[in-house]
Symmetry: C2
């Protein structure tokens, strides 16, 4: 079976996608990015996730998205927004949007895939919880796949047809976590917080934490990842993780 390239961020979604690609029988090639994040803790998480799930080759590509400005996640200019609850998240494009991020990530995945002879690329985009990100929608993914098959020597010469797999695109966070738990994903090493402390402990208050905690709550299980403090909703203290 041909290898698959999986985009791995260190978050909950991409860990689940990695487990799904493994279940499909692919030897796993993982790709992560160091892109001027304000927190690098997620790359450590990506490494742990790859180790756990038997990734054959894990590449970390350095790219400087911060030099153009334009995002709370990379520029350091804006505060990461905090909502009172996940229900408050609206349909607008979040301030955490990074211009062309998925397009840039997928472009590198194309190069990696072609050089290694991988015909399948997996990524953990989700159109449900963050409907605001334009590059997480099915119509974007379809357009990218179409473009990709016109871009590569391997596809133009007919060696294979490249396919983008976005198994999570229509799932809620709760459904993602349920699938991951069924596949044996250990979520304790994954990190989702937009604003973790220096130890990598989650804030429990940013949009990403709220969605994650709601997903675990829906499954009736505690989030095994560490949080800086634990008011009512957080069921597992940091020292247990």
């Amino acid at each position: 079976m041909k290898p698959a390239v999986v985009l791995v961020s260190g978050g909950l979604d991409s860990a689940t996608v990695l487990a799904l690609a493994r279940q499909a029988g692919h030897p796993l090639l993982a790709l992560s990015f160091r892109y001027g994040q304000r927190h690098a803790v997620e790359l450590e998480a990506a490494r742990s996730v790859c180790q756990q799930l038997g990734v054959r080759e894990h590449r970390v590509v350095d790219i400087d998205l911060a030099q153009f400005g334009g995002s709370a996640l990379t520029s350091g200019q804006w505060e990461v927004p905090k909502h009172q609850s996940a229900e408050e998240l609206g349909p607008e494009i979040p301030i955490t949007y990074v211009p062309a991020r998925n397009t840039i990530f997928l472009s590198f995945a194309l190069a990696f895939a072609e050089v290694r002879g991988a015909a399948d690329i997996y990524l953990g985009v989700n159109a449900l919880d963050y409907s605001g990100y334009p590059d997480c929608r099915p119509e974007y993914i379809e357009a990218f796949e179409r473009m990709a098959n016109l871009a590569l020597r391997a596809t133009v010469e007919g060696q294979f047809r490249l396919r983008l797999h976005t198994p999570l695109i229509g799932w809620t966070k709760g459904e993602i976590i349920r699938q991951g738990l069924a596949l044996g994903v250990d979520y304790s090493v994954t990190r989702s917080c937009y604003d973790p402390d220096e130890r990598g402990y989650a804030c429990g208050q940013c949009d990403s934490c709220l969605l994650r905690l709601r997903g675990f709550a829906e499954n009736g299980v505690p989030d095994p990842a560490p949080y800086v403090d634990r008011p009512g909703g957080f069921q597992v203290p940091p020292e247990q993780s």
Copy 2:
């Protein structure tokens, strides 16, 4: 008028495209890449070209295409092929093909364009002289443009429709040079050679040199750029450039 983003390599084609974007009235934003080329002399050429043509902002993005391997231009594993004449170049995909290169370059251009409010991206791809590069064909460019308009906040929210401009796509090298000369492009600072010496002087023998020399010959003018030696065809000695 909105600014335009122009991909500038330091070569003859992109210098001509820059002049065409300027003629269209756009304030110019230029984007170049340091991507593990075996020769960095073209970035110096890119800087000179941008200076000459009044570019407002020139960004050089570092990306590591060499880490995946797969190209004579970046891996250092293969010799750059040399043909006896430009007529020998066949329709096959050249060994100098770099997987997903234009897709990666254009992805960064999208980010730059969105952050600066530029609706137009210019690039100097050419489908004629190198018909073998899949990511230089009109159908690829159209598919990328379609994908891009689904990817960005600015286009999805209707602030503008993003357009890719490839004015050279159907021109011969001779036609490109004729247009550039008419627009006052000084080709002495541009560099096209795949295998220049340490001074940046062109070899005069690689495919890229052969095409360039043929283009100048068609216009009946000398190539003002420096070459390491000058057998019959080369009309301008290095010391004059």
